[in-house]
Amino acid sequence: MIKRLIIFCIILIPTNVFALIEVDITRGNMNPLPLAVSPLSIDENSRKSFEKILKKENIGSEISIIVENNLRSSGIFEPLSKDAFLQAPDIANLKPRFEDWNLIKAQALITGKVSYVSERLRVEFRLWDILAGREIMALAFTTVPSNWRRVGHIISDKIYERLTGEKGYFDTRIIYVAEEGPKTQRKKKLAIMDQDGANNKFLTLGNELVLTPRFNPTSQMVTYLSYFKNLPRVYLLDIETGTQEVVGDFPGMTFAPRFSPDGKKIIMSFAKDGKSDIYTMDLENRIVERITNHPSIDTSPSYSPNGKFIAFNSDRSGYQQIYIMKNDGSEIKRISFGNGIYGTPVWSPRGDLIAFTKLHNGKFYIGVMRTDGTGERLLTENYYQEAPSWSPNGRVLIFYRETKTNAKGEGFSAKLWSIDLTGYNERLVATPTDASDPSWSSLLGN
């Protein structure tokens, strides 16, 4: 359920002042920027009101913990321990003593205030440049109290954007496949959660096998593969209403679905008589168009962000390689030429890179290359991993990794991981159950 709750956002002070702090996110996390996230201050009446409504003792601290965790997980910020903070949250929000914060080596400070205003949650926050000794950003949000986690994510995005010059990716969700049971009889369900693992929810019951869910551009719809009635077909799910419908009801298996960047079409593979080709279906008029026609396996299609090109993998050369073509199927061009086999190409939201899975010498890699195939960079190597999905700002990839089992077939697990485009900051993305096939939403917006 994506809550499209309106969050009123007010810019408190025009903030086009030049700041000394600058974070270069292209160089990896070698020197994360130390900053201090002061707990958001809260008056006693507001604290009590929110405690009653949200069952959280101090919602101010809870929101600041969300901000702190988000910034830490990005790998480019290093939130300092609160034990070292000298100034009380309410006073710091009015006017920080920059010398004190400088003393603990903080280069930036985040302060704020939470209040209960006519049954709504009002959160104000300020970002301070410690070295320059001034405020560089101040915003206030008003929303329903249950929206408090999203407020934490939106604040994180604003800070990330102010300090790096690029959009954030914290107010987002991940749709994935939750897995349980023995490896030979896995039970799989669609699941959705916030980017930080909170608000996990299962969307299907696990009665039939489901695979490869992917968001549409507005993150309200999901296309995926379901084995409902033992007929593997592409489905469409409306997350808000829970409505499911089959869209790839062809006389054979349809699979590997993804939305076009305008959300109007689904591109997918259709397998029949031992060959798999790529098709599109217009969701409005249900017109089906064939894009490739070759005796080989053509699958895992992914549009470029402008919709003009399609990347896919094909074994027409004898084994799996990555190709690109125009969106009408013309001008097919192979782009992967390194050692090994290449699959699951996914076009970056910035349009300049293609993320992929590579298998070489018994190892699986997640990597990126330019759209002409040059500049291949392998980010991570493991026994088994695949299916990268981009964060909406194109800075982070999420994928899944499976472990090797022992001789008895024990010790199997599947988990979500993320890694920066730089190859640094590899992190386990915690999920309540085993997990695979992650897909990152766009920024949910406010």
Partner: protein, 165 residues
């Protein structure tokens, strides 16, 4: 000069011997696996996982890595299935195609479909109508052996003939 040439030739010969003996050792290793009766050039030849549609009619055939080509043994199995299906003309079947875990999920779905279709095509050349056969690919989703070894993978690269009614 001549001496150095002889020396060079001896070196080459030595190198050749080394390469040959290396090959010989490698071959022995593969043979050792074959002796266990489990695999032959990447294709599972054992009977651990095999079930029977009827006496002498195995239910499944196995494939080499990334391949959908039927081996001699597979063709023999499918001929037995065809004969049994001709005798039992009311029975319809589902060919369930599978891949091992060493490939990307979507490609494996397509590969499972291709393997099941290889079996279907062969059954059809032995007189079984396509109306009686449906194909279902599971990709790597339903391994029969959960192990992470070449032997486990070889058992999982399969097309299984299942009675539909």
């Amino acid at each position: 000069m001549i001496l150095s040439k002889i020396f060079k030739n001896t070196l080459l010969l030595l190198a050749a011997c080394l390469v040959l003996s290396a090959c010989a050792t490698k071959k022995e290793v593969t043979t050792a696996i074959d002796i266990q009766g489990q695999m032959q050039s990447d294709v599972y030849t054992g009977t651990d996982t095999v079930e029977y549609l009827a006496d002498g009619v195995p239910d499944r055939v196995f494939f080499a890595t990334n391949e959908s080509v039927l081996t001699t043994a597979s063709r023999e199995t499918l001929r037995a299935q065809a004969a049994w299906l001709r005798k039992n003309s009311s029975i319809n079947i589902v060919l369930e195609g599978h891949a091992d875990e060493r490939g990307t999920r979507e490609y494996n779905l397509a590969l499972g479909e291709r393997r099941a279709n290889a079996a279907k095509d062969y059954l059809m050349t032995y007189g079984i109508s396509s109306d009686r056969i449906s194909v279902l690919s599971y990709g790597k989703e339903r391994p029969v052996d959960g192990g992470s070894s070449p032997l486990a993978w070889s058992k999982n690269r399969r097309s299984v003939t299942v009675k539909a009614n």
